[in-house]
Symmetry: C2
Subunit: 670 residues, 2 copies
């Protein structure tokens, strides 16, 4: 079919297809198959439905779009380019997958304006979408008034077979159905092909039936390659159902238009090659050189700029009215979106002294959350079915449930991974929400991909992890973290804090909230068991990552470095040694990452190079500690799996006792 006979819409769709084909061909790397097959649904969605402003990608009330099948990112870059975003030019598309480009191999929100969330690890995007829709529902319930609706957008997701095989997507979609998120609309690119070949070899379930079982509204577009009106009608139908999320199965042909490679795994993740590119051009009647497009198509899609300006202007007017009628709410809304914290918020975070009865740090965490919740209404979150173990309920703020979206306690169910991706989605809604997600520290293993993405994609999520060591006790080795702290500290851009008592827990929350506003996630490791309050601990100290809590005159012979539940053991051991005339120091080190941010002088002040006798004490693996204890130092640590027994037994048996610490210290001193 020659260009002359193609409708304007066909020209637009083929423009998307060939931008993908040519960019992948030039890069000799990438995934042309999905963009070629999903171009029609994406075109219909972006051209006929999506409300956004290309010239202000962060316009608050925009519809959110998530390409959960992130490998198909050329689809998204083509849409951003065609609809007039400044973030993606034709030159950027020519630089697809090259060093420093705005068009990396998977969509990255921190690289490319207009990309809402970072996708590629499959299943994450649709789960982020659930979080985006929850954020919208929450803010709508909180801020909208019967006469003025200022929060009112859809979250659209395109996902593929890969996403639908992933457990994280299953978890989040089950919860989305439970919550009845009517403004979440997922288009499932049902192309029957994954990397290994036909989905017949591994994925023959009835996906639609599954989503219906989740409580979703499910539709099917049989000819997603050409039937644009059917796609439109399905999206309209989806919008008309307001009490359920909708999954539209859109049956397509992967690599549509490539005569020899379409509908094969060969087109999923590799360039077509010159011959097939030529054959595709011929087959689709495409007369344009690579990266050249019919001006009519570009002009048509660029109308999004004008539409977007109108949409934003209308909304601005609406918001001006809202500001007049509801000045207090409008001010609060503006504060949310600005990402500013209310003045003096941190004053509720209190210090404790040794006179205060010691509690588990999870209890202090509960206190912090409950003190912060009234003054930080943007704090929203919950636990993966361990609310009363993690102690994360913010009392008086109700359960976030269908029709009760103004509430702030989210029950995620036993869905750690889904929780993680949902929290990231809420954070990346860009509306100032501070999401938190909680489970046992060991179960970070279930949600690690989401935690990593919180760090990579710069979300301000707070991970509240309790039962942080063998001190957990009777549940035994399946539930006792050993290597877990090390494995989390190793993640770039994630701040891990393990507070030792009530004061340090306050410090940890001070850091976590502040970093949330800097789009940086924090993970708190909290004890199950009660710990004494130590008078010398301080909020300020926590913010520096490590600081001295017990010291001697002059240069110490030995430095204890303790964290969390073991700090008090270090203090006791040090006091014994000080009493014996030894010169020792105790450094509390709740956060390696915060300590690394300090300048060299501070680091030297706390851990002088000259003091080579150093003993770390932490109920976790020694892995990584050699950086701080050095070649001459030692660790009190546990490098094997734990055991089922009361926590005090576990601690004692595995060497977390004052006696053993003293013995190790004396061995170093001798």
């Amino acid at each position: 079919m020659a260009v002359a006979t193609q409708s304007l819409e066909e020209l637009c769709i083929n423009s998307i297809r060939f931008l993908a084909v040519d960019a992948v061909e030039k890069a000799k790397s990438g995934h042309p198959g999905l963009p070629m097959g999903a171009a029609p649904m994406a075109f219909v969605l972006w051209d006929r439905f999506m409300r956004f402003n290309p010239k202000n990608p962060k316009w608050f009330n925009r519809d959110r779009f998530v390409l959960s099948a992130g490998h198909g990112c050329m689809l998204q870059y083509a849409l951003l380019y065609l609809t007039g975003y400044d973030s993606v030019t034709i030159e950027d598309i020519k630089q697809f997958r090259q060093w420093g480009s705005k068009t990396p191999g998977h969509p990255e929100n921190f690289e490319t304006e207009g990309v809402e969330v970072t996708t590629g690890p499959l299943g994450q995007g649709v789960a982020n979408g659930v979080g985006l829709a929850m954020a919208e529902a929450h803010l709508a319930a909180k801020f909208n008034r019967p006469d003025i609706t200022i929060v009112d957008h859809y979250t659209y997701v395109i996902l593929g077979d890969g996403c639908n095989m992933e457990g994280v997507a299953a978890e989040a979609c089950s919860l989305a159905g439970h919550l009845g998120l009517g403004k979440l609309i997922a288009l499932y690119d049902d192309n029957h092909i994954s990397i290994d070949g036909s989905t017949d070899i591994a994925f023959t379930e009835n996906v639609s039936g599954r989503f219906e079982s989740y409580g979703w509204h499910v539709l099917h577009v049989e000819n997603g390659n050409a039937d644009l009106d059917a796609i439109s009608k399905a999206i309209e139908s989806a919008k008309s159902v307001t009490d359920k999320p909708t999954m539209i199965k859109v049956t397509t042909t992967i690599g549509y238009g490539a005569p020899n490679k379409q509908n094969t795994a060969g087109i999923h993740g590799a360039a077509l090659g010159a011959d097939e590119v030529a054959a595709t051009r011929s087959n689709l009647g495409w007369e344009y050189e690579p990266f050249h497009l019919p001006q009519d198509a570009v002009n048509h899609m660029r109308k999004a700029v004008e539409r977007g300006a109108v949409l934003e202007t209308e909304w601005d007017k609406l918001f001006a009215d809202y500001s007049k009628q509801y000045p207090q709410e409008a001010a609060e809304f503006k504060r949310y979106v600005s990402g500013k914290l209310p003045d003096g918020w941190e004053k509720v975070l209190t210090s404790y002294t040794a006179e205060d009865k010691g509690l588990a740090t999870r209890k202090y965490s509960e206190a912090c959350l409950n003190k912060l919740a009234p003054i930080l209404p943007e704090l929203i979150g919950g636990s993966a079915d361990l609310t009363h173990s993690n102690l994360t309920e913010i009392k008086g703020f109700g359960n976030f449930q269908k029709g009760q979206y103004q509430n702030r306690n989210v029950h995620f169910g036993v869905r750690e991974h889904g929780m993680g991706a949902i929290c990231n989605g809420m954070a990346l809604h860009g509306s100032g929400l501070i999401p938190y997600g909680a489970t046992f520290l060991i179960f970070t293993d279930y949600m690690r991909a989401a935690i990593r993405l919180s760090a990579l994609s710069q979300t301000g999520t707070i991970w509240v992890m309790t039962h942080d060591s063998i001190g957990q006790g009777e549940d035994g080795p399946t539930h006792q973290p050993i290597e877990t702290l090390a494995s989390l500290r190793a993640i770039p851009n994630l701040t891990v804090i393990r507070p030792a008592d009530g004061t340090e827990c306050s410090g940890a929350y001070k850091v976590a909230i502040n970093r949330s506003k800097q789009n940086s996630p924090t993970l708190l490791a909290l004890s199950r068991q009660a710990l004494p309050n130590l008078t010398p601990t301080s909020i300020e100290g926590v913010t520096k990552g490590a600081y001295t809590v017990v010291d001697c005159q002059g240069v110490p012979e030995l430095i204890f470095i303790g964290t969390g539940s073991e700090l008090n053991l270090c203090v006791a051991a040090a006091e014994k040694l000080l009493g014996e005339g030894k010169k020792v120091r105790v450094v509390s080190m709740p956060s390696w990452e915060l300590f690394e941010e300090q300048d060299g002088a501070y680091k030297e002040f706390i851990l002088p190079k000259v003091v080579t006798k150093r003993l770390s004490v932490e109920a976790g693996a020694s892995f990584g500690w050699h950086k701080y204890v050095g070649t001459e130092g030692d660790t009190v640590s546990i490098d094997q799996f734990g055991a089922s027994a009361p926590g005090v037994f576990c601690m004692e048996k595995f060497g977390f006792s004052i006696d053993n610490i003293l013995a190790k210290a004396k061995a170093l001193l001798d």
Copy 2:
């Protein structure tokens, strides 16, 4: 209802209930709710259906039982005790959750004979069950003959709401439906309660509909508290459907019998307390002291011993016949079960020299797998939809599919976590299978809980992980491991090996296969990109974890420590320095864990204490390397997220170049 009026079956069921109640009460810790509610289904299953031999828990043809809801372990301990296993005595039950007991807080296969797999982290057990059923199907297809069936058992799973919320269970169950595993029967304890309260707050999906969508046969027992015949009929019906797995939803009351606490979250995970224990005794007419049981009930359940002896004797006879008719197959079967490897198997693993064109280590891995597959028929596995990227296909051995269970290439779909748990289940079938599972190294994050359990529960699984660094290239930071190696090395009992070339890859497989037979998992980190073969590398060297590949005369001034794709850079840098008259050594360190197993003399021989100028070179985080480079050393490493660009650019830009290595080395030497 007084004891006198209770049927024998009721006495048995109440015996299970009160063992759980009293053990949890004594321990003041544990989960009585599930055992009390699930006792009827468990009794029916173990008394009327399960084929096992308590006096030989490892009898090959036993039905496998998995308590996926592992927190309810007192159910399993009660069954083991009552049916006459020697592993759990009444004294052991009194020691529930205590140090050194056989009755830890969650079922651990390595602690308690009769426990098949380690459960507790929710969802893992049912996914292990899929692996057990796949192992059975495979061995049945391979060894059974039309006239003699020697492999013929069911896999039964009890799972709860928690398991059914977990993505790992969803992934594995979708695959089980696809594979039509007719001998997998899951009983879903539908008690409507999870830790946070009623499942109404987070889990309202139609579970039965979901399993039907997966292709399962689904049944419902409405009164699981009392209708034993309905449970029986359901299990019979499940067995009659041979081409689909069956999910029996058994509606029960959590904590059945506790008048004030049943059907509440309060009984899920806490002791009942003396008052409620008394009230429960009264309510269920239970006149026995704690840990005392009606002898009739014990006698009845102990008939399992006699039944088991008969079953095993019958099977032995069958196997004797089989041995006569099929001596070769019988010998092979015996070798499988004995866990012995065929003599000389490792001879196929070849060495390479610098003359051999260098390939990616994933390519050498493919060669190893394909050389091993014909001589190790117990090798079975595959990839999570990255077969032709991971290069894990064993050619000529067909795809493991419904009705084609004799084949050995498993297509797991994009289900990393499910794959992990399934591989663990296949390993713990105890039949000598060596399962392997593959994906990109970064996606170990998706399956970390299963990898940890492979190490904890002593499975011989082999994890084949490719695209092991930023050298991965264009896919960008979502796909590029940074902290991943560190996070895996930190796991106790897991051996991580990162080979540098073809020879080291052979060494890695030698270790992995041997360790598999020692029930120890190995994870291979393999390059996407081609690497030169280095003449001094050796298989023997790999087995020691670290060894010298380039050396100088006398004591070196500096030691390079390289792994994987960076070893050749170290060699090139060292040769330059040696040419300049510097005294340097290059140590190849493919495995930290194997090196740590060596004696002190060997370690000192390779990394002499006196040489403090050490430079590690690895395209991953520095995290953990200070143990080897010490206070005076340095690392060439990457402690930030990667970038989307061709792999060679990424390597160069992030400092993995001979020039940068030389510069860092010279800085140390100066």
